[in-house]
Structures are given as C-alpha cells and as structure tokens.
C-alpha cells in the first residue's frame, strides 16, 4: 500500500495529526502511530497486523482535527461516536483502507514466537520457513466480515475487495463450546474465566465506545457497583457493567478481547448482546442512528405487553 503515505502527507495539510500504523521493530508487527509531520508519515504501513481500532483515540483528541486510517470495522466505531455526539464529523478526516482481514498476532506469535517478522502473502502467513494458512490465524471478527469497506470515509486507499464477503463463520472453538453449554455450565464458565481477571481495564481502555474513561463507575468507590477486590465475582460484575453500558453501542470491533492480557473471551458476551439488540430493535451500532436505548418512538413501540 504505497499510496497510503502520500495520502497521509496530503491529509496532514488540513489536520493536526493522522492516526495510522508503523512497524514495531521489537514486536515485528504494526503498532499504532501518530503522524504529525510528513516526515513521520514515511513510517506509515498498512498490513494484516493492523488490528488496532484507532477510533479509540478520537474522543481523547476531540479538540484537534484528526486524520485517521480506518478499516471497515473501525469506521463503524467512528460512525457510532459521531452518532452519539462524542466526536464531530467535521473534526475527523477518515482515510478508509480496504481491509484484507487482520491476523490475530497472538496466534502468529504462538506459531512463530514474539517479535519474529511476519510475512503475509497469498493466503499464507510465513516466517523463517514456517507457514500457516491465513484463515487459521485470522481474527474472529474478520471471518465473515460484514463491513470490508468503511461506512464513513473521506478518501479511500487500496483496492476494494472484489470478493463477496465470506459468510458468517460457524461457531468454532470456544464459541462452539459455549453455545452448547447449559446455563449452569455457563455460570461456572464465567466464574473460571474471571478468576484470572486482574482488573487492568485494558478492555475498557481499548474500547472506542467506552467514552467515560477516567470517570468510569467501575473504579469509583461510590456507589459501589462492583467491589474493588480482584476476585471472580467482583471482576465479573465489573465486566457486566461494561457490557451493559455498551448495549446497543458496541460495534463488535473485538478490541477488548484482543487487549485482554489474560485471554478472557469477552466477545462471547458482546456478540450475544449485539445479536439480541439487532433482533429486537433491528439496530446495529455503527450507523447514523442513535442507539435504541437513548431514543425511541412510542408510536412504533408496539410490543406485546406480556410475552
């Protein structure tokens, strides 16, 4: 994607900073980068390790004019932030990037070791003689991606994929196991999962829609929705607060799960919630409409009283 660099440079003529990615020598993958000057923009890359959702930085930069390189899924987050009024449309310049699907670097590192340069070509990901099929280490959200192209953008970069989006992925691995569990088994499952939560709040901080940040109620002493103790019940309650506050707002970018340092499958909760919201309200976060819990039309709210 050589054309990205000139586009960023051009964007810098009208914005204060462009959010993009640069290669991290230590990690051997792309990491978020802030380009303030054209010279800095020479480091810009876009490859299949650019999983981070840079929209997370937008509310923090609300006082600046910001350019942002956005994949299809990232653009949904941007659109949602705009719909909720957290970000002004006029304050962002969206460089929409055609996305081939991002690989789960954790899986890559499991295959190749942390920091080994990952080379991605022709459906294979390779490094020092080892190769794996791309699909095997693709992020979950990228399988059956619903938005390969950005819903909102000012300029695009890269060829739009000519392939039809893949069908939604069949639940596999933990998703399959979870789906088959009884309610009681799920209760135990979450208790086990959250026994290793350390309350680092990486999930919250990596989430573009967790806009409360510093004043998040989870960490407030009062009123005490979740205790401060790092134990399974309290950590679980803390996460439920986050999930509840994301109802009708989560765009499914999977950043919380990617950020979790102890590998808790948070998306099981959010995917379920997003599905229910879509089923009940026909609403999918990341468009122009306000979330269904902030607005409603009484005339069209004609549910049965007792189901």
């Amino acid at each position: 994607m050589e054309e990205l660099i000139p586009i960023i440079k051009k964007a810098l003529e009208q914005v204060d900073v462009v959010l993009g990615w640069a290669q991290s020598p230590a990690a051997g993958v792309a990491v978020p980068a802030f380009f303030h000057t054209p010279a800095e923009a020479d480091a810009a890359v876009f490859d299949s390790t650019c999983a981070h959702n840079l929209a997370v930085y937008l509310p923090r930069l609300a006082d600046k004019k910001v350019g942002i390189v956005a994949k299809g899924c990232d653009a949904r987050s941007i659109a949602q932030l705009i719909a909720e009024g957290a970000v002004k449309r006029s304050g962002v310049f969206v460089i929409g990037a055609s996305c081939p699907g991002m690989i789960d670097v954790k899986k890559a590192w499991r295959c190749f070791g942390f920091g080994k340069q990952v080379c991605d070509a022709a459906g294979k990901v390779a490094m020092e003689g080892k190769t794996v099929a791309r699909e095997e280490i693709l992020l979950w959200k990228c399988r059956g991606c619903r938005d390969p192209e950005p819903v909102i953008c000012d300029v695009t970069v890269g060829e739009a994929s000519s392939e039809a989006p893949a069908p939604p992925a069949e639940p596999a691995g933990i998703r399959k196991r979870f789906a088959a569990m009884t309610v009681a088994e799920r209760r135990q499952f979450w208790q086990d999962q959250f026994s290793r939560c350390i309350r680092c709040y990486a999930c919250r901080e990596a989430c573009p829609l967790c806009v409360c940040r510093d004043v998040c109620t989870i960490q407030a002493h009062e009123p005490g929705w979740a205790g401060a103790a790092v134990d399974s019940p309290q950590s679980w309650m803390a996460q439920l607060i986050r999930v509840n506050h994301l109802a009708g707002r989560c765009t499914g970018c999977e950043e919380c799960e990617r950020a979790c340092p102890v590998g808790i499958p948070l998306m099981l909760l959010l995917e379920e919630q997003n599905d229910v919201v879509e089923e009940l309200f026909g609403y999918r976060a990341g468009g122009e409409a306000k979330p269904p819990f902030l607005t409603f039309d009484i005339k069209n709210d004609t549910w049965d009283e007792e189901r």
Partner: protein
C-alpha cells in the same frame, strides 16, 4: 444516630408481626440508638414520641416501619420537621400493606419485617438532607370541560378572585345536563337551573371562555403548566355573530343534530341549541357544501353581521396555569356492538335513554311530545331496559352506571305525565336508590305512576306485527315474560368521555380500568389526580349524578384555591443532580430525559458537563439509570441508596 419506630397500627400490624421483636432486632443494628414499638405512630402521641426520642438521644435519621409510604410519608416528614430534623432524613418501611396484611404466619412475617427494617437502616445511612425550593405559582386555573362540573368549578374558583380559562370542546357549554329534560328526584327542569349558570360564565369578568377548543399540549408542572389550547376553526367570527340563526335557516346542507342525540337533523352551519352559550353559530366543514367542492356561499351572503369567514383557521393559544381541573364528563355506551340480540340498532323504536330525554324535552325535536321515531306515533306501552352495558360481565362492563335506576324511574314518571294512558314496564336487576329522597321517588313511580317493575334481564328484542317484543325473565316469578311495546328505551351505561384517555395522557394522570380518570386515593384524595396540580370534577372521575358532580366540582375548586392562594409553591427536592467531577459529558441523560430538563454546562476549566434544570425535572430518575459513570443521581433514589437497600436485603 438512628432511631427506629415500629408501628403496631392498632392490631393491623401487631396481629401478624411481633412488633416488639422487630424493635428489639432493630436496636441491635449498627448505629441504632433508639428503637421502639408504638401503637399508632401516626397519631399525636406517636409523633410526639418521635420528637422526644430525637431530642433525648440526638437522633439525626429516623426509620419508621408502618403502613405504605404512599399513605403517611408526608405525615412523617412533617413530624420530622417539627422535631427539628430535615424531613428527608426519614425512611418508611411498609410492614402493613406489604407484610402484615399479606402473610398469615407470625414467624415469617416478623422475620420479613426485620429484614425490611434492616434494609431501611442501611438505606438511611446514605440519606442526605434535602431542601426543596419555592417557585411562584401562576394565579390562573384551567378548567377543561364546560358541563355542570366545569361550570361550577370555574364559578367557584373565580369567586376567590383567581382567573379561570374554561375550555369546551363543543360549540356551547352546558354539557350533558343541558340535554336533560327534568332531574330526579325533584323533577325540576334541568334547563331552568343550568341556563343561568351558563350565562354567568359568559358574563364573568374573571372567566375566559373558549368553546370549540381542546387541550393540545401540556408542559411544565404544578404552579406553572404551559398549555397549548387549540381553538378549532368554526368559520364564524364569535365577536360578530349575534346568534340570529339566519344562516342556519337558509343553509341547504343537512348535518346530524348532536344536541338532540341524532334524533333529527340540523344544518352544516348552526347554533348548537337555542339556549347555547355563547349563542353563536359554527360551521362544520365536513358537512358544508362549500368545503366539499360546492359553490354555495349562502351563509356568508346572508349573514347580517358579516361574521362568516371561510378562511378562518385553527388557532393555538398558549397560556400558563397554576392548576388544572379536568371536568370532561362522561360519554354514552354504544350498546349496538355488544347486544346483537337487541337488534343492533336496526329497530328505530329501540332508543337510548339519552335520546328519550330529548323526546321528553320541550326544547327537543318533537317539542316535548313523545313520538316514536319509526312512524311518529304516540306510544302506549313503553319498555325500559336497565343496565345495558352496565353490570354485565358478558359485555365486559361490570360497573354500575350509578344513575340508570333513578333516571329510568324518572322517565317512567314523565312518560305517564306526558301520556296519561300509557303503561311503562321497567326491567331491572336491582333498584339502586341510595341518595336522599331517591327511594321515595322510585316508590312514587311504582305507586302513583303505575310503572310495572320486572326484576330480570332482557334476552331479546324482536319485532312482531309493528310492535317490539321484549323477551326476558322475571326472576321473582321464575318465568319468561314477553312485553309487547311500542317503544323500548335502553338505559345505556356511562363511559369515559371520548378523548378522555388522550387528555389524561397529556395531563400525565392515570385512568382506571374502566377508562375514567383515576383519583389519588378513593377516600383521602378523591379529587386529586396523580399529577400534582391536576384535580378531577364530576363524571370524568366516574359515573355520578348531578348533586355529587356539583359537590365534587366545589371540592376541586377549593383545592385549586388552596393551592394558588399562597402565591408560591414548594418544589420537591427529589430531582436529579449532576456531580460534575464524575460527568463524562456523553449526554445520554439528555437523550433520555422526557422533560428536556438537561442542559449543557461549561465548567471553568473548559470541561463540558450536564446540568439539571430543576424547574423542569420531575424526578423520574430515567437519566440516573442511563448515566454510565453514575454522575447524575436522583435525590432520594440515588444509586447509593438503592444499592444499600439491595445489598442489605440479600444478606
């Protein structure tokens, strides 16, 4: 330090809950310095005991376990105030309606009561003193509905020097009472007693009368309602029209005569009835030729006052009011749908009592002669059927209309007076004649006027040789009866007035399951609606006769006068408040607030946070539930208070 008082409520509570044991358990709770069980806490000695304990033990928070807070919360708040405490440092525990009265087992009920007290003790630790504000109250009242209830209320309120706006949906005030011939049990003429009051309304300096008008939108709250009133276009300039009725005479377009209950036709442009107030014509566009593509301009041409204006449009008038009286009256039950065996309205000589009232009336379509609609013949045999759409579960109408027995007896008497050789038959379930001189009146109908009362329901009405056969049971004789009548009068039940539900919604007040507007408490607050500052007068609250209606209208007027005479109102401190240091500025609160009570505030350091406009906030707490960081709280129902309750009750 905390004080806990456990009310015995005589034996209402103590019969099932061991109040002594509850007090003992309360005494052991953290921070409780005083706990006692009192026979009647709401009584004078009960309240004095609270005051004494507050002084002696320097209590600063009080828990009272007694009846429902809906009953006595206000009482005890005042008691705290008298004891020198902030009235909001009190929490009530409902151990009567929600404990002693619904459990039989003493052990179980006592344990639950202790649980509930513990919950309140936990909650009250999170209480903070709250201070209500004061706002000026607008010295003007709105009365909705110009029947006898609205008229009486408007006159009584204005008598105290408080200006009133009286809004009436139809072209004239007078309502249902103006349609009646004579009234029970005195048989005085309805018009004779009502018309002077109608005129008084029109002439009163302090009363602004708006007919053809309806409430469009209601904003604000007690003391300062902003209400939009829509005045429907009648194409007649009310100022110019003299009520000469030339337009009505010459108008070529027929239209139903609403005043005469559809028994005859009127015109598209007409005066509602000869005694109408205001005595002005109004044009109903749906029937007018000009408004249906025709070229007719007759009324405009002929009007000597030049009052007809086809271009007149609806006008929306906005006014501020301190209080509202709803006096929308009642509507008539449409029996044709639920009583197919009565002929579904196909027999012209099966009429309702409201129609019969017009046949009896000297101002009615027959000039006071009883003539049956089908052929204009004078009936000899008249059958009255009570409780049509009343006291009938199968029609989904279990309620009593409360006036049917009496007016049926009255109509039987009047029938005999009009046609001396007539015979009335009255099918009834029970004769309900509870009012002063009512029973004597019914008895008179039987003895002096010879009406035959048949106790039983009517099954079918069908035609036979030009007459109508009323077939029913005589439950006293245990036999089937068939009465061949010339005219059948159905005592159709009373319903809530059409549009009452919609109005209630605008006023934010409740309706009961029968559709009538609901009072706050059937005994203690019988004229107050659920929204503060809204009062009920007359049949809008439930079917009632004229004496009861006038009495309630007077009571509603007294409430309005009491409310507005002080000039200012205390506002509830139980509104939302924002803690700016916790606000993330996401404004979800503003999105969900039904009252537009959230505004943006820019702090000194440039942070933008939410701010509550207290005068608009009504204290629903929806914002509190929608605020992710918990920055906005509803005073009195904060997260901290609810969580304290919740956590404690589950321990």
């Amino acid at each position: 330090m905390l004080g806990v008082f456990i009310c015995q409520c005589g034996t209402n509570i103590s019969a099932t809950v061991d109040t002594g044991a509850v007090a003992a358990a309360a005494a052991g709770m953290r921070g409780v310095a005083h706990a006692e069980s009192i026979q009647y806490t709401c009584s004078d000695p009960g309240q004095a005991a609270i005051g004494a304990a507050v002084r002696e033990k320097r209590l600063d928070r009080i828990v009272i376990a007694a009846c429902s807070p809906r009953m006595h919360e206000a009482t005890f708040r005042r008691a705290l105030e008298r004891a020198g405490l902030n009235p909001y440092m009190m929490e009530m525990v409902n151990i009567r309606e929600q404990c002693s009265w619904i459990h039989a087992d003493t052990g179980e009920a006592t344990m639950k009561a202790v649980d509930l007290v513990r919950k309140a003790v936990a909650r009250i630790r999170a209480h903070v003193p709250l201070q209500g504000g004061k706002t000026a109250a607008v010295r003007r009242a709105l009365v909705i509905g110009g029947g006898i209830a609205g008229i009486r209320a408007a006159l009584d309120i204005s008598a105290a020097g408080i200006p009133v706006t009286l809004v009436e949906k139809s072209p004239s005030i007078g309502g249902n009472m103006a349609r009646l011939d004579k009234t029970f049990p005195t048989l005085d003429c309805s018009s004779c007693i009502l018309t002077p009051l109608m005129v008084e309304i029109k002439q009163h300096d302090h009363i602004e009368l708006m007919t053809n008008a309806e409430v469009d939108d209601v904003r604000g709250l007690v003391g300062d309602f902003q209400i939009d009133i829509r005045r429907r276009s009648t194409c007649v300039d009310e100022e110019k029209c003299t009520g000469c009725m030339i337009c009505q005479e010459k108008c070529p377009a027929p239209a139903p005569d609403d005043f005469n209950a559809g028994l005859c036709q009127s015109k598209a442009i007409s005066v509602a009835f000869p005694q109408a107030v205001p005595l002005v014509a109004s044009l109903r566009k749906q029937y007018c030729r000009r408004f249906n593509g025709g070229k007719c301009r007759l009324c405009q041409k002929l009007c000597p006052a030049g009052a007809v204006d086809y271009g007149q449009e609806d006008e929306v008038v906005s006014r501020s009011f301190g209080a509202v009286v709803a006096a929308t009256g009642y509507g008539h039950y449409d029996w044709t749908g639920s009583y197919p065996t009565f002929g579904k309205g196909l027999y012209p000589d099966v009429i309702t009592s409201a129609q019969y009232e017009r046949l009896l009336s000297a101002s009615g379509p027959t000039g006071g002669l009883i003539r049956r609609p089908s052929d204009g013949a004078e009936p000899r045999q008249v059958a009255f059927v009570s409780c049509v759409g009343s006291r009938d579960e199968s029609a989904g109408r279990p309620q009593c209309c409360s006036v049917g027995c009496m007016y049926t007896a009255k109509q039987a008497i009047l029938t005999k007076e009009h046609i001396p050789d007539s015979q009335s038959y009255i099918f009834y379930i029970d004769m309900r004649a509870g009012g002063k001189n009512y029973e004597e009146f019914v008895r008179r109908a039987q003895t002096r006027y010879g009406a035959i009362f048949i106790r039983g329901r009517v099954g079918r009405i069908f035609p036979r040789r030009g007459k109508l056969v009323v077939m029913g049971t005589d439950t006293l004789a245990g036999d089937q009866v068939e009465i061949e009548a010339d005219l059948v009068v159905l005592a159709a039940g009373l319903t809530a007035a059409p549009g009452a539900g919609e109005l209630a919604r605008k006023l934010n007040i409740a309706c009961d399951e029968t559709g009538f507007m609901a009072e706050e408490h059937p005994k203690l607050r019988p004229v107050e609606a659920a929204a503060a500052g809204v009062f009920l007068a007359g049949a809008c609250q439930g079917p009632k006769d004229i004496p009861a209606t006038v009495a309630q209208a007077g009571a509603a007027a007294a409430k309005v006068i009491g409310l507005l005479s002080r000039g200012e109102l205390e506002t509830s401190p139980m509104v939302s408040a924002v803690n700016p240091s916790r606000c993330a500025g996401c404004f979800k609160c503003r999105d969900v607030c039904p009252f537009g009570a959230i505004d943006k505030d820019r702090l000194a350091d440039g942070l933008v946070t939410a701010r509550v406009i207290e005068s608009l906030c009504r204290g629903c707490g929806i914002c509190n539930a929608a605020c992710p960081p918990g920055a906005i709280s509803l005073n009195g129902y904060t997260d901290k208070q609810l969580l304290a309750e919740l956590v404690e009750v589950l321990r």
